[in-house]
């Protein structure tokens, strides 16, 4: 759909990951990889196509928060009609965010190579071009900073590592006031629901796209000052943790 073929091949590298939506995702992949007659697309004579426009032209463009809210609201309403419960709804919202994460990853890397002073390049070993993150911490900083700024025009509010020795693979990213939930009041009978599961899906897409198999979920952690404070719990898979140990031993940053 909105994805050029290279995105589909990226999905293919992740389709084997043991995660909830893997089936759906695999279907998408197969669908778009099915050989099509290459008759090609028609293009306008004035060549108003995506190839003729600079990828950064919309970088600083603004739209209304309202438009996002209405679209996101419809996404939630639509998802609600096809699910059985809160968990199912969150799963579906997560799946909607996932492909977005995959795509944003490319955009993030593209933008960070084309501007020398970006925050991303400072967090990687060489100044330019920045490599994809190899270590968990670099990846999480990429999410907490550049990804959040691209989506929400500010960094996330906190990044923490689980203090429990039983769960060294768990990390928490906190947003005190998630933009996606600005106008949403969840009914009392659904109080466990957090629609930022959509954002959790985006994070999951970014992690997977970078080769860090992970599950990400959104949790309500309200405080008096921040009633819609949300914690994104990132749980990396065993393979990631093992690789992390090897990289640690070899001194890879």
């Amino acid at each position: 759909m909105a994805a050029p073929p290279r995105h589909s091949s990226m999905m293919a590298t992740n389709a084997g990951a043991p995660q909830s939506g893997a089936n759906d995702r695999q279907q998408v992949t197969q669908q778009s990889l099915t050989p099509q007659p290459t008759q090609g697309l028609r293009v306008p004579s004035n060549r108003k196509t995506i190839y003729d426009r600079h990828l950064n032209r919309s970088r600083n463009a603004e739209s209304s928060r309202a438009s996002f809210a209405y679209l996101f609201g419809e996404m939630v309403t639509y998802a609600q009609r096809r699910v059985t419960g809160i968990q199912d709804l969150e799963k579906r919202l997560n799946e909607q965010g996932y492909p977005l994460g995959l795509r944003l990853l490319d955009l993030l890397f593209y933008r960070s190579t084309s501007t020398s002073s970006s925050a991303l390049s400072s967090s990687s070993t060489s100044s330019s071009p920045p490599n994809r993150p190899l270590r968990i911490i670099t990846l999480l900083h990429l999410i907490h900073g550049p990804l959040w700024r691209l989506l929400f025009q500010r960094s996330a509010d906190a990044l923490e590592h689980s203090v429990s020795p039983d769960t060294p693979n768990e990390y928490m990213i906190t947003d005190n006031d998630p933009l996606v939930n600005t106008y949403i009041s969840v009914p009392r009978e659904m109080s466990m629901l957090n629609c930022a599961a959509f954002v959790a899906g985006i994070i999951e897409g970014v992690c997977d796209g970078c080769g860090f198999e992970a599950k990400v979920s959104a949790h309500n952690q309200p405080t008096e000052m921040w009633p819609s404070r949300t914690v994104f719990l990132v749980r990396f898979g065993d393979s990631v943790m093992e690789r992390e140990k090897v990289l640690e031993r070899n001194g890879v940053k």
Binding site: A66, F72, T182, Y183, S185, V186, R188, P227, S228
Partner: protein, 169 residues
């Protein structure tokens, strides 16, 4: 100061005359029963409609056929009268006042009514109502869990409305 700025309570009535929101902002107000609020909403809705329909028209020089006239609606007799300001909609009852309180009604172009009970001395009631409409458009209408025309149960609306009214005094 606080007294003259007092906003006592707010009622929102849907297009059909049903009460969809009611909240008091001052402690110690005499409360009505839920049923009385429903009656108040329905009665006001009806009276409002009647006052709308009795709005007098003024004679008008015959106009050339207006664009976009829907078929079969304008008779020659009716078209020679018009409301004083054809651009503005006919509003119906705008406020009721006693010596202790004032009820101001704001009806949106979509037919929803906001009824605000204030102290008769409270100034800038229009500004207050516009802000309430703004908050309603944000925290009620943009909430996917809110079903149109149904009672408003939106925690974020309550919270922002309360905070704004408190900060105003």
């Amino acid at each position: 100061m606080l007294h003259t700025q007092a906003v006592f309570s707010l009622i929102i009535i849907n297009k059909a005359g049903g009460l969809i929101y009611q909240r008091e902002f001052q402690a110690g107000l005499r409360k009505l029963s839920t049923n009385d609020y429903l009656v108040l909403a329905g009665t006001f809705h009806g009276v409002h409609a009647i006052t709308r329909s009795i709005t007098p028209k003024i004679p008008l020089a015959p106009t050339t056929n207006s664009p976009a006239a829907s078929p079969g609606t304008s008779t020659p007799a009716a078209s020679s009268y018009s409301y004083p300001n054809p651009g503005a909609s006919v509003s119906g009852l705008d406020y009721l006042e006693s010596d202790k309180f004032r009820l101001t009604c704001f009806q949106t172009l979509t037919g929803t009514k906001f009824l605000l009970f204030t102290d008769p001395m409270t100034g800038n009631v229009e500004t207050i109502i516009n802000k309430i409409y703004d908050l309603y458009a944000d925290y009620v209408m943009k909430n996917p869990f809110y079903q149109l025309e149904m009672p408003v149960r939106c925690e974020a609306f309550d919270r922002h409305l309360g905070a704004w009214l408190r900060g105003r005094t």
